[in-house]
């Protein structure tokens, strides 16, 4: 992070280059997304058993099965089916659920707001815990505060997240009765799942915040600030933290994928009707179009969020942009 202090927050915004960077990144996104869709599509297609039998029932004749196969888009080779799937996907069609006979895209967008609510609240919880904890640890490096924060972070990292969810449920829902143990009755229901996912993320972010702060605290410009007579508090929270936040933002983007992954478990523990539950239920019922569609859409969401984070990052730190506009 050498020199980060002098230029990172300069917000040097060179319009043309920035557009070039964004377009380049968007173009790079296309093969990745096609690849993601192919991997998921291929995995879901090796699933044993011909889903036609599942839908048609035991008495169907061979002709009926054939017709159904065509209707469900199951005829042709894997590659043919993949391109048909992508074609439909571009038209916003992810197929129909085998079980509920509903449009998968519609099913997904019904559940997505719940997952996004959970994920964003979890990230908020994570920041509220980890940034102060990481700063305290870094500022008091090698003191008992530092040790305690690092032990807490290590325990958080070592705990299976869904188990933490079960413990929280036990304490705050079943013993104390402060929160519901499951379901989706308004804001109060999302608190425990969000804390569950948030604490897991906080463990990692605390470590990142600490090391990022330690890096920045060594920089010369902080000594300059102190020499000018800026108070220690202001040095840390204004001068140091703003630069230390840059790597934290990046980790945040990378972790969005893990937050969505973690919410699959939290949604199952707390019966929160999000995308994760949709996938898990669909797998139980061998509802392949729903699983495939939900996985592809979720991965696209992750990729797009990562792109946005990268763009914000490039905006904040001109060195990143320079790599792409050479």
């Amino acid at each position: 992070m050498q020199g980060a202090g002098s230029c990172a927050l300069h917000l040097l915004f060179d319009g043309a280059n920035m557009y070039k960077y964004i377009i380049k990144r968007l173009l790079m996104l296309i093969p990745v997304l096609l690849g993601v869709a192919f991997v998921i599509f291929a995995i879901m297609n090796v699933a044993e058993g011909d889903p036609v039998y599942q839908v048609a029932g035991p008495d169907a004749t061979e002709e009926q099965l054939e017709a159904l196969r065509e209707e469900m888009g199951l005829n042709g080779s894997l590659i043919q089916r993949y391109f048909r799937y992508i074609g439909n996907l571009l038209k916003g069609d992810l197929g129909t659920s085998y079980i509920s006979k509903m449009d998968v895209m519609k099913l997904y967008f019904q559940r997505l707001p719940n997952t996004l609510k959970l994920a964003s609240l979890a990230m908020l919880v994570a920041v509220l815990i980890s940034v102060p904890l990481g700063i305290i640890a870094a500022v008091n490096q090698n003191s008992w505060k530092d040790t305690l924060a690092m032990i807490l972070a290590l325990i958080g990292l070592s705990m299976p997240n869904f188990w933490l969810g079960l413990l929280l449920m036990l304490l705050f829902a079943l013993k104390l009765g402060w929160f519901p143990s499951g379901g989706s009755e308004g804001f109060i229901s999302v608190v425990l799942p969000a804390v569950t996912v948030g604490v897991g993320l906080a463990a990692l972010l605390t470590r990142t915040t600490r090391s990022s702060m330690l890096d920045v605290l060594r920089q010369d410009y902080l000594r300059t600030a102190r020499a000018k007579g800026v108070t220690e508090r202001k040095v840390i929270y204004y001068h140091a933290l703003r630069n230390a936040l840059i790597p934290i933002i990046t980790i945040f983007g990378v972790q969005f994928s893990n937050v969505l992954g973690g919410s699959v478990l939290a949604e199952t523990v707390f019966a929160w009707p999000g995308v994760g539950r949709l996938v898990v239920d669909a797998i139980d019922q061998r509802d392949i179009p729903t699983v495939t569609g939900a996985l592809i859409m979720t991965t696209m969401l992750v990729t797009v969020v990562n792109l946005i984070v990268d763009i914000v990052y490039a905006y904040v730190d001109p060195r990143i942009k320079a790599q792409y506009t050479k």
Binding site: I40, M159, F162, N258, L260, V291
Partner: protein
């Protein structure tokens, strides 16, 4: 001639030992790492001798209706489950599953990841590009979802669980190996090896990979921990080791059904996972500090 060969081999051995010795000396000073190492040795030991202590069909999966749902006591220090099985016995036996899944999954990821990553870094060009884009693809799929998809496609079994977790954790190893190769690819001793006509695979194996062995050891130690958590997650969702095997995640899944009245059933398997992963994390962090002084603070 023979004498000379022996000597070079001896000196190579000696040198290797001394780096390892230095790392060990570093590691010994790290309290956390030693705690992790001791815990890990105990857990592995318990997993190894479990079949000698308990009989699988009677003690581990045998039902005993008269003893069901007993709270922890001197007789059953972790209580008994809904079928009257002693939870402590099942946890000790379950260490076999968690450790096996964690180690095998990481071994799969390690072998595939390093082969691909090293080849990508060494060969470069189009091949490298393709491998790294595939890596991007795999890392943009959330690993839990990836593992869920693989297990649901291949079917529920212990082997498929290992495969699923392994596939989901391959990408980081590809990156580590490629980065390590890129650093030394242009070094003179690599060029020298090429000049005397050594085959590429030998150059990678003998001259390049030893340079990143410490990073790989650290990555692997930490990854075993996260693989154990992933495996427990899948088992918790009913996609892992099939019942009645005493896998910690599936023990938590059945404990969850009785969480209101028999909370101890949810408590102990979770503690087992946490301590195991904690010991791996402590050791992994310690190894990183010992093997990679640059990262040490």
């Amino acid at each position: 001639m023979k004498q000379e060969k022996l000597e070079t081999r001896a000196s190579r051995l000696y040198k290797k030992r001394s780096t390892m010795e230095m790392a060990w000396r570093q590691l010994r000073r790290n309290k956390g790492a030693i705690i992790g190492l001791v815990l890990l040795v105990i857990i592995i030991g318990a997993a190894l001798i479990a079949p000698l202590l308990f009989d699988y069909s009677t003690d581990v999966i045998g039902m005993n209706v008269r003893q069901r749902m007993k709270w922890p006591s001197l007789e059953h220090i972790c209580g008994t489950d809904e079928l009257g099985r002693d939870i402590f016995t099942r946890i000790v036996y379950g260490a076999r599953y968690s450790l096996a899944v964690g180690v095998v999954a990481v071994a799969i990821a390690l072998v595939v990841g390093i082969a691909l990553g090293a080849a990508a870094g060494y060969i470069g060009g189009l091949f490298e590009n393709v491998v790294m884009r595939i890596c991007d693809i795999f890392s943009s799929i959330p690993s839990v979802l990836m593992a869920i998809a693989v297990v649901s496609a291949l079917g529920k079994s212990t082997l498929n669980l290992m495969l699923a977790v392994g596939i989901a954790s391959t990408a980081p190893f590809v990156r580590v190996a490629r980065a390590a190769v890129l650093v030394v690819r242009g070094e003179e001793y690599v060029e020298a090896a090429r000049a005397i006509g050594q085959p590429d695979w030998k150059i990678i194996l003998v001259h390049i990979l030893p340079n990143c062995i410490s990073q790989i050891i650290v990555q692997a130690t930490l990854r075993v921990g996260s693989a154990i958590i992933s495996a427990a997650q899948l088992s918790f969702l009913g996609l892992g080791v099939p019942a009645p095997a005493p896998e910690w995640g599936s023990m938590l899944a059945s404990g969850r059904l009785y969480i209101r009245d028999y909370s101890y059933m949810t408590l102990f398997p979770g503690i087992a996972i946490m301590i195991t992963v904690l010991s791996l994390n402590l050791l992994g962090d310690g190894l990183r500090d010992a093997l990679d002084p640059k990262l040490k603070r």
